[in-house]
Symmetry: C2
Subunit: 283 residues, 2 copies
């Protein structure tokens, strides 16, 4: 069932709650792919009812980012949601009010702690995670899910959402879902649609670098500097590396010596397309 | 029933929700007086179950404020809550975690918009309303009330909480409750306990100024400058006026011409005690 209005979602949710049903929420920006599908299937398996939200959230795009050209494919998204109970696709006006002004002069924001946002993607995408936390908080309040499903692809986002849920005592359980990859190793992302065939080949270095680091770690190399340096054999002048970092999986603290709690994060640009990936060094 | 643990509140709330009962929340910092009692009674009347939270919230006190000496009178508070179902009195550790660090480096904050916080009390109490919104958001998530009751005494707080509820789609209805006054006109406040008898006499000017402005308005004076000037006959060198402002009741915009949507706000210090009051010019 495709729903555009908050009130209609609330009404349906109320009935489900009354019947004691467990609700799962999969928040997305649409342009759904097999990665999202794995979250949806997990929710359908775990919960009585599943809501997929499809909303390209303006306040999580920073200046110069791709808000206007972000892929919007609602018809196809709905098809992928055949086993879902509600696809909730509100307009920006529905979410933020008619004539809304999205600055923090006029809108209440949920602001995650700086220690979690001043690194990795947060460093170049200032304010991005404020926008993410605010909209996810809104969706939680609208859908009131028992479980919410987030992909490990956006691992910093997952950590920050978990921290928000803990700090604000939100009555929801966050379920992390593993990254889904093409056979080539490329992590699925809605932004992959921006890539030409040539760029898609270039994009394989993200997973190659991560897999190689994992394999070096498995063979006993734990020095982060040494592990980092293994990346350079893969990078070409067409890869603009933003970061390659080793951090704690729980709190994103930097690691100098890798261990099983370490996660490796990479971001780079190919042309104008910014891609990210990450891998756990533990099993 | 006095409860100190979040999990115990959740368990009770869950049972009430399952039984379809309507829950009211009265968030307080304790030191309860007849003003709080009026909120409690309204909740008991309107809801099946009433929770009163008693928590002196550290993050809403600014540098140099009275966190340590803020009155804590839990035993008496509990007595005043005889018609209440739960008195929820958590410790700071229960609310913010063992070894908590309360800075926005390590804690997720709910930040109301600057347009609502850069004026009135927010001007001198920087960060105060961030602390208020954050803790109220936490309490909403713990108690999941259908209704929450706030006094008009802290009118800017009420406006900001209503804005937060709207902006974040929180499924709660905010019920404003009128200021309760002594026969003298003095608005009840936990901070009145700090006043000596002489200071309490001096404190009467707040309501006198407001009542006189209201009466001037009722007699047809609408020029805010003229109405403001009527205050000076009441003030003495022992009154340190912080502000006297005329603002819109809904969005706190400044008024130059008074009308029925106008609210008059006053804050002043007597000795070290900061007191506030306000009045609606409408009926």
């Amino acid at each position: 069932m495709l729903i555009h209005k908050i009130e209609d979602v609330r009404e349906q949710v109320k009935a489900w709650k009354k019947a004691g049903l467990k609700i799962g929420l999969v928040p997305t920006m649409g342009a759904l792919h097999a990665g999202h599908k794995s979250l949806i299937d997990k929710s359908v398996e775990k919960c009585d009812k599943t809501v997929v939200s499809v909303f390209v959230n303006p306040i999580q795009f920073c200046a110069g980012e791709d808000l206007d050209k972000y892929p919007r494919t609602l018809d196809e998204d709905v098809k992928l949601c055949e086993n879902v109970d509600i696809v909730f696709a509100p307009t920006p006006n529905e979410m933020y009010g008619e004539g809304h002004i999205l600055s923090n002069d006029f809108l209440t924001y949920v602001v995650p702690p700086y220690f979690y946002t001043d690194k990795l993607c947060g460093k170049s995408r200032v304010g991005h995670f404020d926008g993410v936390c605010t909209v996810v908080n809104k969706l939680f309040n609208i859908v009131q899910p028992d479980f919410a499903f987030f992909g490990e692809k956006d691992f910093q986002q997952l950590v920050i959402i978990k921290k928000m849920v803990k700090d604000l005592n939100i009555p929801v359980e966050i379920v992390p879902c593993p990254i889904v990859r093409e056979d080539s190793g490329l992590a699925l992302s809605s932004r992959n649609k921006y890539l030409t065939d040539e760029q898609k080949d270039l994009a394989l270095v993200l997973s190659k670098i991560l897999f190689n680091i994992k394999s070096c770690y498995d063979r006993g190399i734990v020095d982060v500097k040494a592990l980092s340096e293994t990346a350079f054999e893969y990078l070409t002048p067409k890869h603009s590396l933003e970061y390659l970092e080793f951090r704690d999986s729980e709190n994103l603290e930097e690691k100098t010596v890798a261990d099983d709690d370490t996660r490796v994060f990479i971001a780079l640009k190919i042309g104008n397309v910014r891609l990210i990936d990450n891998i756990s060094l533990g099993t």
